[in-house]
């Protein structure tokens, strides 16, 4: 396995959706795409495990979907514009998902945004994060 280094590897808490991610996450994302149709949303919610079997995803990806582990889905190749369709299927707001990914409640995340968002200072480089903690 060839590991290519990227100039964005040092950016913390960020999973750039490059061709490697797109390749590994393809079936996970195409499952999400299927949720654009109302009848598919219904079928998925009625039998999640069965519905997911239609897509040749890894078992780990399927588990992350069923656990609604939003960060894990991203780490396994999910793209946020796709995985957010699962959130929409659940009737969750985008800020709920965003909060979950950075370990914050929806209320605290919304408050952070109202206060101007997460600053760039302290969040540019992995070396700035102690124990993988985002600077809010």
């Amino acid at each position: 396995m060839v590991t290519t280094k990227h100039d964005y590897d040092d950016i913390p808490g960020t999973y750039v959706f490059d061709f490697d991610k797109s390749h590994d996450g393809y079936h996970l994302n195409m499952f999400c795409m299927s949720l654009l149709k109302a009848e598919n949303r219904k079928a998925f919610l009625a039998d999640e495990a069965g519905y997911l079997q239609q897509f040749p995803m890894t078992q780990e990806q399927r588990q992350a979907v069923m656990d609604r582990d939003w960060l894990r889905m991203i780490q396994l190749g999910g793209n946020i514009y796709y995985t957010s369709k699962i959130g929409a299927t659940d009737g969750r707001s985008f800020q709920y998902i965003a909060g979950k990914m950075c370990g914050m409640s929806q209320e605290d995340y919304a408050k952070m945004m109202l206060n101007g968002g997460r600053p760039a200072d302290g969040n540019r480089s992995k070396s700035e994060w102690e124990g993988e903690k985002a600077n809010g």
Binding site: D7, A98, G103, G116, S125
Partner: protein, 279 residues
């Protein structure tokens, strides 16, 4: 002859569309965002363009990951507002200017821009939210639209320099079109935002405003910004601001900034907006 008169930069946050559609524009959270577009709506009415070339990106709606075109040009007579999972937005059908689109496609390809040509595509919030912000809620959109859809979802998007050069080629093509048309070009998306990962919620007001300054003061600097700088400084999804450089490339070297608006937050995003007139 057709002529590009001005450029508009604007964010296209989906929640802004929902706020309009649900009648929430006067709520305290949303009011400051919409207030910044009041002057813009008046300005656009006065300019009264025949066609808007609308540069935007699709968000896993018309295009999925099976095929990802870098630059996709619509040449259809009309484009339906897409169902993004909650039913289509209650906005008018988008009428195309197919003749101008076809002329642009031909001209751009002979100018070495290998465009993907699209005969049918639904248009999502990336295209319809800018229309709503700039036109309000009319019965029909007051101009025809040439949609230019750019991949900014799967890395790498086209470079800023390439976007700027495409803008220049668009201008050349428009000016060679043999019909008197008033054209305005929109560059949409951005500004700073990160929607995923533990760093979600990133905003960089200072960086964004320097970008807005240099659209008129030093656009050449903007064309040299590497993707990694957008990602690091403005959030991973902030890289979509490169689309504004297509708009900027289509304008004169000298432009006048006639309006600017910047507000945080629009949901998860810094809402940025600018109007540039050719000088």
């Amino acid at each position: 002859m057709a002529k590009i008169l001005a450029g508009v930069g604007t964010s296209h946050v989906p929640a802004i569309g929902a706020a309009i559609d649900l009648g929430k524009t006067q709520e305290p959270y949303w009011q400051p965002i919409f207030a910044g577009y009041e002057k813009s709506k008046q300005w656009l009415k006065e300019v009264d363009p025949d066609v808007v070339i609308l540069v935007y990106n699709d968000h896993a709606t018309a295009f999925a990951l099976d095929v990802v075109p870098t630059f996709a040009l619509g040449i259809a007579d009309e484009y339906q507002p897409a169902d993004e999972g909650w039913g289509p937005r209650p906005v008018p059908v988008v009428k195309g200017h197919s003749e101008l689109s076809r002329h642009l496609g031909t001209s751009l390809i002979f100018d070495h821009f290998d465009m993907t040509i699209v005969n049918e595509m639904a248009v999502d919030h990336g295209l319809t939210v800018p229309l709503s912000l700039m036109c309000g809620q009319p019965e029909a959109w007051p101009f025809k639209v040439v949609p230019l859809c750019v991949n900014v979802v799967q890395y790498p998007p086209p470079t800023g320099a390439r976007c700027f050069d495409l803008g220049k080629a668009i201008r050349k093509a428009v000016e060679a079109f043999d019909e008197d048309l008033k054209v305005v070009i929109f560059g949409t998306g951005g500004m700073s935002h990160q929607l995923h990962g533990e760093r979600a919620g990133m905003i960089n007001r200072e960086w964004d405003n320097k970008f807005l300054d240099d659209l008129s003061a030093d656009p050449q600097r903007l064309t040299q910004i590497p993707h990694v700088e957008y990602i690091r400084e403005t959030g991973a999804e902030g890289v979509e601001t490169v689309m504004w450089l297509i708009m900027r490339g289509a304008l004169n070297e000298q432009v006048e900034e006639v309006h600017r608006h910047y507000h945080v937050p629009g949901s998860n995003t810094a809402v940025g907006h600018i109007i540039l007139e050719n000088r």
